[in-house]
Amino acid sequence: MMRKLLTVALSGTFAFSANLAANEDTTQAYIDQLTSMGFPAPKESQLVHIPPTMADLEEADIHPELKKVIRKGYDLFTNTQQLRGENVFNNMNCSSCHLGEGRMPFSAPIWPAAVTLPGYRGKNGHVNNLEERIAGCFTYSMNGKPLEYGSDNMLALSAYHQWLATGVEMYPKQPIYGRGFPAPERPAELSYANGEKLYEENCAVCHQEDGSGLRVDGHTVFPAPWGDMSNNWGAGIVRLFTAAGFIKNNMPLGQPNSLSDQEAWDIAFYMDSQERPQDPRYTGDVKETLEQFGPTFHKHSMYGQVREHDGKVLADHDNTGEKPFLKPDTIRSRNFD
């Protein structure tokens, strides 16, 4: 049964070897490794793709100039701090959330964007292409200013995304195995106090008790899960289910799936009940912003909610962190009527 699944759903890896049997073994080993780490095996209908590594790039039969561009994209993805003060105004690298250099399943691997876009996104209510999707993570997750569309850096970063998708068909009909940060089932009750205790026991050794993370010699070692140096209130990870999915599947670093579902949700609840820079879509009033973006987004976050233990209204401020503006001018809607 597994064999059948693989020959049907496997993609991508074919590009790197003509040997089908070897590829099946490779894919089986890939899946075995993931299941041994506590991840679920792919369902029969799912698309499994093993994105190529930087070592595969060396071997790949593509123009040397293109290799250079992809390498630059990789470099930007894993060391996005090189754009600090221009496009990035917090301590994040893209790889701070997209683990394994954007390749790991269950850590929002980035290649699916390259084969599913242009496509409609509920978050901004129009059709986005790959560049606009990347711009989205700059605007919110990096608390930044997106790279110019069509610029050298944007070309490099999108080339890296697209190359990771090598061999996958455009607009695949099958659902993608390990896409996003799949959330564990939400438990009936969430506990802030338990989340705080668990955070201190499992996370603070790296991210610090106050959520500020750790930088050494101007490099981010441990990113900041909240506070001025973290993502802003508009980033996907402020949604409780996304944070719970991220934590369950990826943290503590090196120990995925070691926390129970309840623990992952409690920590997510604690983490997402802390302050961070304002959502760039802020209208100047937290209630109004919540009304506008509640239905599509903030109904899943703590934005504008009263924190129970101290009565604080979350996100009721105009602090944009280190970023000297609220909203990058690239956030605009499109409409083809």
Binding site: R103, E201, A204, C206, E209, V216, V221, P252, L253, Q255
Partner: protein
């Protein structure tokens, strides 16, 4: 000579092993005296020694003082087990530990040994593990915890660049076999257990060839 306060800046340290060193301040000058007990193995300049096929003596020069003191306490209390070191740590009280930790932390790091004869393919694999990891086996890159250049991050994650290959290899194998387990939250153990002996060797020789200081 400056005084180096050893604080529990890293919260994690307080949370396990009953490690209570919080207020002991180290004096490097007094520590120099204490170090006379140590030079037979760790050498006068703190360089230690790579001993091929034997038990290597780690370089201590430039090691983070808080990490250093934690190791001595761990060996004393038995959470880290080493027969060679035991008689020497038993000669030290909390003050002497803080002093000798302060002394070694401000010595100039010396070069790592044991990586000079490694072949190119081994070094390439070692570099990959150290800088990018191997996610196909969920081996997270060493630098994601041990910091830029693997020169250490805070008080919890020691510098491992420029340490002797024999010592690095022995520690990773000890974690893999379960004979060293004094790391917080099994952070090091869960990585080491996923590594083959070949990978352990590769990363050890590569790290030995790197510089422990950022200059």
């Amino acid at each position: 000579m400056r005084k180096i306060p050893i604080t529990l800046a890293a919260f994690g340290l307080a949370a396990y092993a009953g490690f209570a060193l919080a207020a002991t301040e180290g004096d490097a000058e007094r520590g120099k005296e204490v170090a006379n007990l140590c030079i037979a193995c760790h050498q006068a300049d703190g360089s230690g020694m790579h001993i091929e096929g034997g038990e290597s003596w780690p370089r201590l020069a430039g090691l983070n003082a808080t990490y250093f003191a934690k190791q001595i306490h761990d060996i004393k209390t038995g959470t880290r087990v080493n027969a060679t070191m035991t008689p020497f740590v038993n000669m030290l009280d909390d003050q002497k530990i803080a002093d000798v930790a302060a002394y070694y932390s401000q010595l100039e790091p010396t070069a790592g040994q044991g990586g000079a004869n490694a072949d190119e393919a081994t070094l390439k694999r070692g570099q990959q593990l150290a800088e990018r990891g191997d996610w196909s086996q969920y081996i997270v890159s060493c630098k994601s915890c041990h910091g830029p250049g693997n020169r250490g991050a805070g008080d919890v994650f020691p510098g491992i660049a420029g340490q002797h290959a024999g010592y690095i290899e022995a520690q990773l194998k000890a974690w893999k076999e379960g004979t060293r387990k004094n790391d917080p939250q099994d952070l090091m153990g869960s990585i080491a257990r996923r590594m083959s002996d070949e990978d352990i060797h590769a990363v050890a020789v590569w790290l030995a060839n790197q510089s422990a200081s950022s200059k």
